[in-house]
Amino acid sequence: MLKNVAVAGEPVQARTDRSRTPRRHFRWTPYWFMLPALIVLGVFIVIPIGYAFLLSLYRYQWNMPNLATPFIGLKNYTDIFSNTDLLNSVGWTLAFTVGSVSIEFVLGFSLALLLNARLMGRLRGLLRGVFLIPMMMSGAVAGFMWRMLFDPEYGPINHLLSLIGIGLIHWFTDGTATKLAVMTVDIWLAMPFIMLVLLAGLQGIPEALYEAGRIDGASSAQLFGFITVPLLRFPIMIALIIRSMDALRIFDLIFSLTKNGPGYATSTVVLYTYHYAMDYFQMGKASAISFVFLIIIAAISVVYMRLLCADETA
């Protein structure tokens, strides 16, 4: 009789010798699967970024091919900090992001709660579709659309405001008014997204929790604060993260609505970069700005990812 040690379990079929080696040996197969994606990434992302970095080290006036393109080291980068227009646009980008995302969030959350309310009944499916309409529109189209609405002389917004006694507002020539207009359109465009994410989260909260809360005598505010908000933490974070990343990178909406104006009042960092590259033809400087912006965005993304991952494992 053989006295053996047995390892029971599912039959392990076709184990190759390699899988029992102390050290794993190098395998090419997974890299082959990855190859097409890597080529696409390389050609459309890595190479342009690398090329942009190279450009950022030169003075490059690309509408004048006969002009020399001298290597100027990091001068394009150091120039960034003395460029007040650019620093202003950084400030506006941040103000725009914080302002419109927070208002979007409050409105979107309210709308989600409204749609989730018991009173909504069978209308919910229909209305959810209706409220999603702006989400289907591209930023550029929405910009053109709202330009008609905000038209100071012929637009309905100024007309409606005049009915309640507010005089002519110069939506595209007054700096503050223009900023408000831009934020209004962004709120209109992005609120449905927040509503959608939060409504999905709300519908996932079991009704039993609220019933238990009511039996314990909780007020509506307590139900909201101790059940709804904590259980929505993950959707809320997702919505805020995606929206603020989008807002930081906003381009098409402002480009079609105000095109920076008046002056640089509504120029975000991305628009300013575009302006430098396409209106001043200073590709080196534009590359430096976009490279710095890329690093900032990447850093923020990493922080967000960490936050999200930490939240998932918590």
Binding site: M1, L2, K3, N4, V5, A6, V7, A8, G9, E10, P11, V12, D17, R20, T21, P22, F26, R27, T29, P30, Y31, W32, F33, M34, L35, P36, A37, L38, V40, L41, L107, S110, L111, L114, A117, R118, L119, L127, V130, F131, I133, P134, M145, W146, M148, L149, E153, Y154, G155, P156, H159, W188, P192, E211, M305, L308, C309, E312, T313
Partner: protein, 396 residues
């Protein structure tokens, strides 16, 4: 006492006051106006003639509505061409990106390889994909532990008879029917040493969690039970609870801890952790003529090897002859025709030269050459030699 009827009144919703209703419909109207107002303006404008565009007050309802803008867009301006271009872009780029992304996703989710996390991060944020190697990692840990402890091992399927082995290791048997669990208990009771791992038999054959205190049918044999369990954020060190169980310095408990409570079993090791220290990591109990050992955590390699060595001592399983090189194993098996086969396997890249066991005389099954006891056997890298043992020489 009145009988409890199945049709109890439903919990009554609180009355909705008219104030609530007004607020509700007011808010709804606001949001509808806010969302649809601008859309209405675009649609209305599309039916306005040129003169109606620039009026004060603005024209809210086109009067008369005209179709000239649509005619202009679709017949005069190349809008259909733009639509066609959009369609072409969508039709080409969608399948292409799906194909490329599917390949990459398959590679990322199915394989572990160097640089994977970096690649994953550059292609997409980490998905919450399940670890497809969970079973292998548990199985391999125990298999390798016994391999390093120089055990002679066989892999048996539950359908095969395992009753005659001295030690039976059951890794990751989460799903098991009652018959198999009963058989495992009977195995220990009749004198075998049963080694179970965390969450053994936790669910039935339909993957339904058993509605009794874990480890359900194995509870009496193991002498433990648990109601709590946790994953381990960090590998934990352990301290030995008996003198004969050796815990090497590198030993760690990783990933998982069943919060075991002793019900007659002896703890072999405890976690070193402010919270988990109250739970034993590994327990053992003499049961019937045999013994049941329960490992409530996933050991790392050092701990698995140490546990394997301890289990082999308890089960009176001698390690393989120290004359065999570390990478060579000898197994014997009985063929269908009654012949006894000896397998020498070299699990390494280094060629090995060994002596045939003194008890074996026979011939090389594949090479055909006779092998005398004590003769030299050459094993190449990853080589196997199968020796048919002559009937007359069969001992043991």
């Amino acid at each position: 006492m009145p009988p409890i009827t199945p049709t109890q009144p439903r919990p009554r919703h609180r009355q909705t006051t008219w104030v609530t209703r007004i607020a509700f419909y007011g808010a709804l109207a606001f949001f509808l106006l806010w969302t649809l107002g601008p859309i209405y303006w675009v649609v209305a404008t599309s039916f306005k003639s040129g003169g109606q565009l620039f009026t004060w007050p603005p024209t809210y309802i086109p009067n008369p509505p005209v179709l000239s803008n649509y005619i202009e867009a679709f017949l005069v301006r190349p809008i259909p061409v733009y639509f066609r271009n959009s369609l072409i872009v969508a039709a080409v780029s969608t399948p292409l990106s799906v194909a490329i992304a599917a390949l990459a996703a398959f590679g990322l989710s199915r394989y572990h390889f160097r640089g994977k996390n970096g690649l994953l991060f550059s292609i997409l944020p980490d998905s919450a994909a399940p670890d497809r190697h969970t079973y292998q990692s548990i199985f391999d840990t125990f298999y390798r532990g016994f391999f390093e402890a120089r055990a002679r091992t066989a892999i048996v399927h539950p359908a095969q008879p395992f009753e005659e082995y001295a030690v039976l290791v059951v890794p990751a048997l989460y799903v098991a029917d009652e018959a198999l669990l009963t058989r495992l208990v009977a195995y220990a009771e009749r004198g075998g040493h049963l080694l179970l791992t965390f969450h053994s038999g936790y669910a039935d054959e339909f993957n339904r969690v058993r509605a009794v205190r874990a480890p359900s049918l194995l509870r009496a044999a193991c002498g433990i039970s648990y109601q709590e369990y946790s994953n381990l954020a960090q590998p934990l060190t352990l301290k030995a609870a008996t003198s004969d169980f050796v815990i090497p310095a590198e030993a760690r408990a990783v990933s998982w801890a069943d919060g075991m409570q002793l019900e007659g079993a002896t703890a072999l090791a405890y976690y070193e952790h402010p919270h988990f220290e109250r739970f034993p990591a590994i327990t053992s109990q003499a049961f019937g003529k045999g013994r049941a050992t329960y490992c409530g955590t996933l050991p790392n390699m050092a701990l698995a090897q140490s546990l394997a060595a301890w289990v082999m001592v308890q089960g009176s399983v001698p390690p393989q002859s120290a004359q065999l090189p570390a990478s060579v194993r000898l197994h014997t098996a009985c063929a269908k025709d009654g012949q006894t086969l000896a397998f020498y396997t070299n699990w390494s890249w280094t060629a090995q030269r060994i002596e045939a066991a003194a008890s074996f005389g026979g011939h090389d099954l594949l090479g055909g050459l006779p092998v005398t006891p004590g003769a030299a056997i050459e094993l190449g890298a990853w080589d196997v030699k199968i020796i048919v043992i002559d009937k007359a020489d069969k001992r043991e």
